[in-house]
């Protein structure tokens, strides 16, 4: 065998190990997992006509239901709004403890970081069910759940923002005899303000969806109406709820976008 042929073979071998083997392994894994979770294309195809029939039952939407849905829709927005504000406030405090440059002690920082990570690791559904279990059905457990579910993400983002501030103004404030709280108010807050607002608004968008979903587990709002209609096989009512939800999501996103631009837009311009 010539040297060139040997070289070519080695290249082939390398390519085989680099591309073909991983592709084979991935295919095998995917096939195995689909079999175990019973992915059945036949069942899906058979279900399509049923889906079309169901959709047919949903039309036309129960128009006369709309006025009655405005209240629950507002409740959904309120749950998301109050929950986001409460969650952001708590996340701000925990974020201060979790920021290396502002935390009173290393151990406190690690503890706060650990708590935030734990909250993020905990599935939202468990938190929701927990609050429904301890405070009962209605909007209040929804607000609590939205708040707590926001803390993990916002707390981490806030803490990271705090850690990234320019330390020099902080030192200047310390040099004039300012307290830690004053330093945070006058040197840290102005620096992190845009990031706090942007992240909180993003979380509000997430929380609107979460708040709709909350109705499903009994925490009030428009989601509750949707689930009840579906359970009672009132598909035209369900369609009305779905339409309201769609409008709600789009409206809230537009609103927070406008707010974002108003607050942060002028930052960029100035």
């Amino acid at each position: 065998m010539s040297v060139a042929a040997l070289g070519a073979m080695i290249v082939h071998l390398k390519k085989f190990r680099k591309y073909v083997l991983p592709a084979l392994a991935a295919t095998l894994l995917l096939w195995g997992a689909s079999t175990i979770s019973r992915v059945d294309l036949g069942a899906f195809l058979a279900g399509i006509p049923r889906g079309i029939t169901l959709f047919g039952h949903m039309l036309p939407p129960q128009w006369e239901d709309f006025p009655g849905l405005i209240g629950p829709a507002l409740e959904t927005v309120q749950i998301a709004f109050v929950g986001t504000v409460l969650g952001a406030a708590l996340a701000f405090l925990i974020g201060l403890l979790a920021a290396g440059n502002l935390s009173p002690h290393r151990a406190v920082r690690e503890l706060a970081r650990g708590a935030l990570t734990a909250e993020r690791a905990l599935p939202d559904l468990i938190i929701i069910l927990f609050f429904v279990a301890i405070v009962g059905l209605g909007a209040f457990p929804g607000v609590m759940a939205v708040a707590v579910c926001s803390i993990g993400m916002l707390g981490k983002l806030f803490a990271d923002a705090f850690e990234e501030v320019d330390p020099k103004p902080l030192e200047a404030m310390a040099a004039v005899g300012a307290t830690k709280a004053q330093i945070i108010r006058y040197a840290v807050l102005p620096q992190v303000f845009p990031s706090l607002i942007a992240n909180t608004l993003y979380r509000f968008d997430v929380n609107i969806r979460m708040s709709i979903f909350l109705g499903v587990v009994g925490a009030g709002g428009i989601g509750f109406h949707l689930v009840m209609s579906m359970r009672l096989l009132q598909y035209r009512e369900a369609m009305a709820s779905i339409l309201v939800i769609l409008v709600l999501v789009v409206l809230c996103e537009k609103l927070s976008d406008a707010f974002r631009r108003r607050i942060l837009g002028q930052e960029v311009l100035r």
Partner: protein, 256 residues
């Protein structure tokens, strides 16, 4: 007014940066600290207001006939002393996203009750004083601009106004004009100089002609001790002594 006695400071890596620093500065003096870079001038300034804690020795501030030792002070006591010691940094260290006026008013933070400063902000009287201080350094017209939109020289003048609002006994200036062009450096120094009527100023400077023109006294640091303490008109022999074997590198004159 301020006495530094037997001050020493070890770096985290174990080198003894400041060994035994002794000097006294009175109101009305404008003292220039000089010496090779890395000799510990900045550390010395920071030891004076407690931003850095010295290992040994003491710093005593006596602004109102009631001497205060800064070493070992913490919390409220430390803040009480610091509120009457101004500090100007090379980079101004303004809060860039606050207005110029707000930046100046932060000079009052050590004076007003923390609760009020957090909840209500500043009073009209404090705003007036801040505007007055800005007028004193010739940048009143910039009061409502954001600090980040200012030039380096303007920022440094705002930093001076911030220090004025502290009503300090002592002003520490760590290379306040090092990052400015010669013309702006002179402007800033022209505003600093008259402040010595109310306080003492200790600054780090690298331009011999600045020291000659503005300062009343020069202190040279070498090998952790005061190697020269005397008239600002430092002789070439002293310069080579303080700057060691290397020829003294005093950059070209400001304003020329």
């Amino acid at each position: 007014m301020i006495t530094v006695k037997g001050l020493s400071k070890k770096l985290p890596d174990g080198t003894l940066l400041l060994k035994d620093i002794n000097f006294q500065v009175e109101k009305g003096e404008f003292v220039a600290l000089f010496g090779e870079s890395g000799v510990g001038k900045t550390v010395l300034l920071r030891c004076v207001n407690g931003l850095t804690v010295p290992d040994n020795g003491e710093v005593v501030i006596n602004g109102d006939g009631n001497p205060q030792r800064i070493n070992g002070k913490k919390g409220k006591e430390l803040r009480r002393i610091r509120r009457r010691i101004g500090m100007i940094f090379q980079g101004s260290n303004l809060v860039k996203r606050l207005s110029v006026l707000e930046n100046v008013m932060t000079g009052r933070l050590g004076w007003i009750s923390p609760a009020r400063s957090l909840l209500y902000g500043f009073t009209d009287k404090e705003v007036d004083r801040a505007l007055e201080a800005l007028a004193k350094v010739g940048v009143k017209h910039l009061a409502f601009r954001r600090a980040e939109t200012l030039s380096g020289g303007e920022m440094q003048r705002v930093a001076i106004a911030r220090a004025i609002l502290q009503e300090p006994y002592l002003l520490l200036a760590d290379e306040p004009v090092a990052s400015l062009d010669p013309k702006n450096a002179e402007v800033v120094l022209d505003y600093l100089k008259p402040l010595t009527e109310q306080m003492a100023i200790i600054g780090v400077f690298h331009h011999l002609d600045i020291v000659r023109k503005y300062c009343t006294r020069a202190i040279g640091i070498k090998d952790g001790v005061v190697a020269y303490d005397g008239k600002p008109d430092v002789s070439p022999e002293v310069l080579s002594a303080v700057y060691g074997s290397r020829p003294p590198v005093w950059p070209v004159a400001a304003g020329q």
